[in-house]
């Protein structure tokens, strides 16, 4: 507040010389590396995408087509499938991928010995390169009765499950791998947040005779609220952009059961050997970005009171 007040007072006498004297130049120079990196690698491509979404281009010849690309995308029957699949993925990932890391983190924070070992084990999947992980899981997901998972299920008399080879099973299979691959990062965030919960609160709850679950529900959860809200929206944004799993596991199959919005973007741009529809690809990307931006704003508005309470 004081700063803006200062600036306002100084405004009438501002000249280039005073601007330099007051440190404007060094501010600019210090900001330059950041501006250059962001400008070149983030904002320029975003700007190019906006331009490209209004063009029909094969990167050699270019024509302006107005909103045609957006119409093409909206008229594509695959769009509804892709949106539906993405929502389905997000819902499953939320159901499975949101509580599991929290539960794991709470349990791990209760462990007294070899804490580091558990953290390392939980984080290990994040360190495995995603492509390697997917290839491994592809092997596990072998749909034959002698496949790895099916053999294990066979021990308890379940299955065989078709995993990736069935339209109904394919998406849950992808979510299973994605949860395994992504949980580690979230667990570390929760663990860090848990250490900041004041121990006195637990002591007080204990004095009041609270059970473990009451402590978790009435002490841990409210204290983690801020972090939980952030990881929730990050999870939504992340799952809305799911690409790696469907691309590497199934390439959208079987019969488009796992085609997601981002995979559709990829298909528009690169799916055909004779050059893609880059206009449609950027148009759909922008629409996705817009939806996510709106979603984020609405989400933070709705939860503002809760997160500050």
């Amino acid at each position: 507040m004081a700063l803006t007040h200062d600036a306002r007072a100084a405004r009438p006498r501002r000249t280039p010389v005073t601007w330099v004297r007051r440190g404007g130049l060094s501010t600019l120079v210090f900001a330059m590396p950041l501006l250059v990196v962001f400008g070149l690698f983030s904002w320029l491509p975003i700007g190019r995408a906006v331009v490209m979404s209004l063009q029909e281009t094969n990167l050699v010849t270019t024509a302006w087509v107005g909103l045609d690309n957006f119409r093409t995308v909206l008229a594509d029957p695959l769009l509804a499938t892709a949106v539906g699949n993405t929502l389905w993925f997000a819902a499953l990932a939320l159901l499975l991928g949101y509580p599991v890391p929290l539960l794991a983190a709470v349990l791990m924070s209760e462990v007294r010995r070899a804490k580091g070992l558990y953290s390392a084990l939980a984080y290990l999947p994040v360190v495995v390169p995603p492509v390697v992980a997917v290839l491994l899981w592809k092997f596990f997901f072998d749909a034959r009765p002698e496949g790895v998972f099916n053999t294990m299920l066979g021990w308890v008399g379940v299955g065989p499950v078709p995993w990736l080879q069935d339209a109904g099973w394919a998406m849950p299979s992808l979510v299973l791998e994605a949860t395994w691959a992504g949980a580690g990062g979230t667990i570390i965030i929760y663990l860090a947040a848990l250490t900041s919960v004041p121990g006195e609160l637990y002591d007080a709850a204990e004095v009041d005779g609270a059970s473990v679950w009451r402590k978790v529900w009435h002490v841990t959860m409210p204290q983690l609220r801020g972090v939980l809200l952030i990881t929730f929206i990050l999870q939504i944004i992340g799952t809305a952009q799911v690409f790696l799993e469907p691309y590497l596991f199934t390439d959208g199959g079987p019969a488009n059961a796992t085609i997601t919005v981002l995979l559709l973007v990829y298909r528009y741009a690169f799916g055909q050997s004779l050059g893609g529809d880059y206009g449609a690809a950027t148009a759909l990307s922008l629409m996705l970005a817009a939806v996510l931006a709106v979603l984020s704003v609405v989400y933070f508005r709705l939860t503002r009171s809760w997160s500050q309470a």
Partner: protein
Amino acid sequence: MRSSRTTALALTGALSFTLLAACSSGSDDAGEGDGTSGGKTVLRVVSLLPGSEQEAFDAFDEQVAQFEEANPDIDVQPEEYEWKATTFAAQLAGGTLPDVFEIPFTDGKTLIENGQLADIDAQFQALPYADDFNPNVLQAGTGADGKVYAIPAKSVYGIGLHYNRALFEQAGLDPDDPPTTWDEVRADAKAIADATGQAGYATMTQNNTGGWQLTVATYARGGRVQTTDDDGTYTATLDNDGTKEALEYLHDLRWEDNSMGANFLLDWSSINQAFAAGQVGMYTSGSDVYTSLVQTNAINPDDYGLTAVPLEGDDAGVLGGGTLAAVSTSASEAQKEAAVKWIDFYYLRKLTDQDAAVKDAETLVASDQPVGTPVLPIFSQEQYDESQQWIADLVNVPLDQMTGFTDVIFDQPLVPEPAGSTQELYGALDTVVQAVLTDEDADIDALLEQADADVQAILDKNAG
């Protein structure tokens, strides 16, 4: 304080400019690619499929050495490469293709129209055998202006039915008497699945190869997936009887006989892998696939069998296709010269010159690489037969296990791939094949009707 602040400022400023400079120097680096290095013309060429056996690379390196010895001013840099419909456009747009690359026949015309292939007509016409090409084959790489932009190379193939002789024996079938009708294929597939637990019959489903092989199955039953109209436009005919019959056939094998195994997400390379590993009894693919089964998948030659695709019904035919060698538009004149010299040396001279043929075969045999895999003629059939005579003593592929194919292929009518928006058409059929194999209640008529409408919309859009 003052001086350290100035230093920090200067450093930060310098950093920003270094960043900017680093970004803009990309064009300088690219300069190396279009010309020479140490006085030699640098030529990046396609070598083998990623993951090929070391012996195959040894043989390839030996050929590169022979070429460089004969052309001391050219520096050949081999790059592993597999053409895939779903990655090619990204490679082309990203400029990461080698200078000489391979494309299927079906893509030649459009890439030429889009100006995405270099004009190598002058260099091509200088080849001694330029006039000897089978005109039907050469036209795949010829532009509307009559110039040659891509040269038929590597192979022209007809589709064959590949089968695993070991699985045939385990199922009590005679591997020397492969099936000749689709009913026999079905019965044998069931026998293999029941006896061994492996897939008796499998088909590709991904990366547009599902549509490719469904088109094969359609042709084999007398159907066509597309017609060319008098005015040069195309009409999709995906919901024809041949395609329906082919899909019902797959449906029956999958759901009534359960003889297609459990994995239905297969493309060209993954089905080869499964076949070489003994998980697939029979599948259809190009007749030349044996070479990569050896080079990439280490198949046991004793287990391999090749026979003709059964043809049933009027107008039934075998799908034929092939590979073109093309040159990147970013190539300089010197690189284009070098590129056609390489195409001549690596792909074509061995078909037209006895000494080159023998030398090539000897090099391959020395590294235990396959020689004599059946393909179709790029030039005339007489010329093909003659070239096979030159190397007859060196042939090391089990030709006697391929007679079911080689005895009849020149009598089978050869049908080219659909010409309009081929890969999009194949892509639409991928979905249909996947649906039939993973959903017992898939409505074949509705699926084909939808795919037909989708493809027709693409054809109309591309025509307009």
